[in-house]
Subunit: 193 residues, 2 copies
Amino acid sequence: MEPKENRTTEEAILEAAEAEFIEKGFDQARTVSIAQRAGVTNALLHYYFRTKEQLFDKILDRKIGLIEEVVTSLFADPDLPLKERLTRVISRHFDLLVANPGLPRFLMGEMHRVAPLMKERVLSKMLPALMSLQKEIDMDATHLLLDILSQNMFPFLVGPALELSGVASEGMDTLLEQIKQENITIILKRLGL
Amino acid sequence: MEPKENRTTEEAILEAAEAEFIEKGFDQARTVSIAQRAGVTNALLHYYFRTKEQLFDKILDRKIGLIEEVVTSLFADPDLPLKERLTRVISRHFDLLVANPGLPRFLMGEMHRVAPLMKERVLSKMLPALMSLQKEIDMDATHLLLDILSQNMFPFLVGPALELSGVASEGMDTLLEQIKQENITIILKRLGL
DNA sequence: ATTATCTATAGATCTATAGATAATGC
DNA sequence: ATTATCTATAGATCTATAGATAATGC
């Protein structure tokens, strides 16, 4: 048959792969398990994506795209006051993490694979925006950006440990909202805004 | 021969294992590679430690011991003013990380294995100290502790990415000292100290 | 007559053990 | 006569491919 534009199978594999990779990381993820989740034979996975690594790269690419989007949007609207722009960026990034709570752990865990792609895509695209931001603030702009990302990511990294500290899942929504506001306040305060 | 109290071989394996596990994590670590580093056959590794997992647990135990030590020492000296105690704890913990820069990534990466042991050992031991601390501050004490740990750990987690932001390794010492002081300031400021 | 899918399996990679031998303390 | 060490390999586990067959567009 001709390329039946079979989004269904291909997408099913991609979705299953995303879930599996984020849950278990590259090493613990099993191609057979991914195929199973997708409801296909593992041979099909290789038919569509050739190797486990190529499949992983597709997933990683998507995820980095998400971050890229948020972070660069941060530096759009140069007319908006600095304070508003920062608030927005922090807020959007945090919301992204709420929607993808496994992302920080995933990225950290696969840092060796992530770093090069991250460098190529995110950092290079952001350089001009960072330079312009640098004119508006005292501290190092890259440092500030890293601080924002890290401060937002941390609660998700220690998620499992958070349960330890006895946070019931009912109060989770309000707790997250609280943390978000705290993060905004802390960053702004650091800049004297 | 009788148990020749052969610390040399056993310790060699432990040291090699520590390096390998911290570099590569449990999954990527190879028992053969560990044995090689230690200058012995991999059969010996199994002879002394039975399984890869048991060897790993030995290493993990040591590392958690380090953190436990610092964190609990944090709450010793109840006579010292709060500000001094916190400064000490943050400082000691940061120094520990400087001496073990791979530790944060390792712990995060193996969180599933780490969490239970962490809970059992560190948290339970710390509970009384946390309760007493709670009387002295407004915010949640556990939250504060997590903040301290996370704030200190982050620079090491994003270490690879730090290189990206163009930090030369010559200035590393002073940079780290700077970050440490910043972290202290930030935490104290948050408590109004 | 090209693409999609399946079954079966080759091949690679690792952990762990069996079994033999060397070293050492009693 | 017990412990330490070596060589060789069994066994488990996964990825990836070969080769056959079913489905579909031209």
